[in-house]
């Protein structure tokens, strides 16, 4: 540590200022341990956060590219519950990360007021990178929480902002981890061979970490039931409940919100790159071979719920119209507009025997809110792409 001259006494005065004394009190009352120990607590929390943000980044990218597939990628239709799992992990894991991030910020909070604020150009850069890291991490968790709670006080479109911010946060995290790697290695060294004796984990630090883990677990436990049905009864704080909704299934967009009214003259059009165009009535569809599947609606918001669907296989309808094996299908809704009016079905999904043009849900005809007269249901596919109120299937080349 380089001591700087302080001819005016200003630095000494600042050291004695109220914030500085508060921070000193914080250090004494919270950590009750030496700086080195606080560093190690922060390092442990950092390891957990690094894992958590990596998982969130990867599962988030999976969700993004499932909804906006780049030309080179084709998503598999199996395992059936893959998206349900990745998005459940993304959202519930994100919620459980909230206590973790707050704990980490708490342990490093005194550093915010360090004196002198900047020691060198490198130190200035390091500190400047804390803003994208802290601001970005808080931004992701706060906007994510608000989004699943259907609360939109912000001016931006959540998916776009959450997506691009993820790169900023994760980039800042990579740089931060590179800078702090020595501390993480220090944890491992003392955690293994003979480490426990060399540098015991103090009761205060162990208690703090256990409390944080408990808070993360409590948040997870009271929300995970919205996607992991066996724990549905514990989902006291989840924005959704599997089994709650028309026909015992939650709804994301109601018919009223989509501007849909039932049409007795409804017909399903199959057009585009087909051998013969089709126009099928509901009776025509009901006359085709009927199949029953058990598939979840897995929402991008993290909730999911399984249901029993019955209807016609999409591939049976497409084969009746005469299509090549490699075509792609655009499923168009009766909705007049909206971001999710249409969705694309790639070959792995439309060839899958589980992919249905569903007519029945849980033993009854689809309710209007669930897409009457006909909706798409496919395995391993985000809920927003399970297009409801289907009007047309447009076959085209990818």
């Amino acid at each position: 540590m380089v001591r700087r001259p302080d001819p005016t006494g200003l630095i000494a005065a600042l050291r004695e200022s109220i914030p500085a004394r508060l921070i000193a009190a914080l250090g004494r009352s919270i950590h009750r341990e030496r700086d080195e120990r606080a560093e190690r607590t922060a390092a442990w929390l950092g390891v957990w956060l690094g894992i958590s943000f990596t998982v969130a980044f990867v599962t988030g990218l999976i969700s993004h590219f499932m909804q906006h597939p780049p030309g080179w990628a084709v998503w598999p239709s199996r395992p059936v519950g893959l998206y349900r799992l990745t998005q459940g992990v993304h959202v519930i894991g994100g919620l459980a990360t909230i206590p973790l991030l707050l704990a980490k910020l708490w342990t490093v909070y005194p550093k915010l007021w360090q004196w002198p604020p900047v020691r060198s150009a490198g130190h200035a850069l390091e500190r400047a990178l804390v803003l994208p890291l802290v601001g970005g991490a808080l931004f992701q968790l706060v906007t994510g929480l608000f989004n699943i709670a259907y609360f939109y006080p912000f001016p931006f479109f959540f998916p776009a902002a959450h997506y691009w911010t993820a790169y900023i946060v994760y980039g800042a995290l990579v740089i931060h981890v590179a800078n702090e790697w020595a501390k993480v290695r220090g944890l491992r060294r003392s955690g293994s061979a003979g480490g426990a004796a060399a540098r015991p984990m103090g009761p205060s630090r162990r208690g703090f970490l256990a409390t944080v883990a408990g808070a993360c677990g409590l948040v997870g436990l009271t929300t995970v039931g919205e996607t992991f049905t066996p724990l549905g009864g514990l989902a006291l704080l989840a924005p959704r409940r599997p089994g709650v909704g028309p026909q015992r299934l939650p709804v994301n967009k109601t018919a009223a919100a989509a501007g849909i009214t039932p049409d007795p003259d409804w017909r399903l059009a199959v057009t585009g790159d087909v051998a013969r165009e089709l126009s099928l009535s509901l009776a025509d569809l009901r006359a085709m071979p009927r199949h029953v599947v058990r598939l979840p609606i897995a929402c991008v918001e993290g909730w999911s719920a399984e249901a029993t669907w019955a209807g016609v296989r999409l591939r049976d309808v497409l084969h009746a119209a005469g299509v090549d094996a490699g075509v792609r299908v655009r499923v168009e809704s009766l909705e007049a507009g909206g971001r999710y009016r249409t969705s694309e079905v790639d070959p792995p999904h439309w060839h899958d025997e589980l992919t249905l043009l569903a007519l029945d849900l849980n033993g009854e005809p689809l309710s209007l809110d669930h897409g009457y007269p006909c909706r798409l249901i496919a395995p391993d596919r985000p809920g927003v792409l399970q297009t409801k109120w289907i009007a047309r299937l447009v076959v085209h080349r990818p």
């Binding site: 909070y109 931006f156 902002a161 691009w164 911010t165 790169y167 900023i168 944080v212 704080l237 909704g245």
Partner: protein
């Protein structure tokens, strides 16, 4: 050192991708509004939330040692659960004629969880009190 430079390059690239994406997608990301929320999140934490927790830490710091920890643990758990539940408890979300959105009475749910945390905390304090008393009576006079 080489590994570190690669990490710096990778991290800076990711930040660049995010920044450029935000600006190119400005119609949806609203960069000015985004910046308010981005910096605002950090400022709200640093200037409001952390000092509040600091105040709670100083207050609970006056408690004698065997009781301090259970009280603090209970407060941390209660605060974290409340933070996550807050938008739902306050009913800030939009239900748009859809009863399957936010179907529960979240205030009551949160109250149940907080009561359980309080109960567990009180139990822990009671156990500590009994231990302290026993310790005193066993001490040779």
């Amino acid at each position: 050192m080489r590994g570190r430079l690669i990490a710096y390059g990778f991290g800076a690239t990711l930040i660049g991708v995010g920044g450029i994406g935000l600006l190119r997608d400005a119609a949806e990301t609203r960069p000015a509004g985004w910046l308010v929320w981005f910096a605002g999140a950090a400022l709200t934490h640093d200037l409001l939330l952390a000092p509040l927790v600091l105040g709670a830490a100083l207050l609970t710091g006056r408690l004698p040692e065997p009781y301090r920890r259970p009280v603090r643990v209970s407060l941390v758990l209660a605060a974290c659960v409340s933070a996550v539940a807050l938008p739902m408890v306050l009913g800030l979300g939009n239900r748009a004629g859809d009863p399957s959105r936010l179907p529960r009475a979240y205030g009551a749910d949160l109250a149940i969880i907080l009561a359980l945390i309080g109960l567990a905390g009180a139990l822990a304090v009671a156990v500590s009190a009994v231990r302290v008393r026993r310790g005193r009576s066993r001490r040779p006079r």
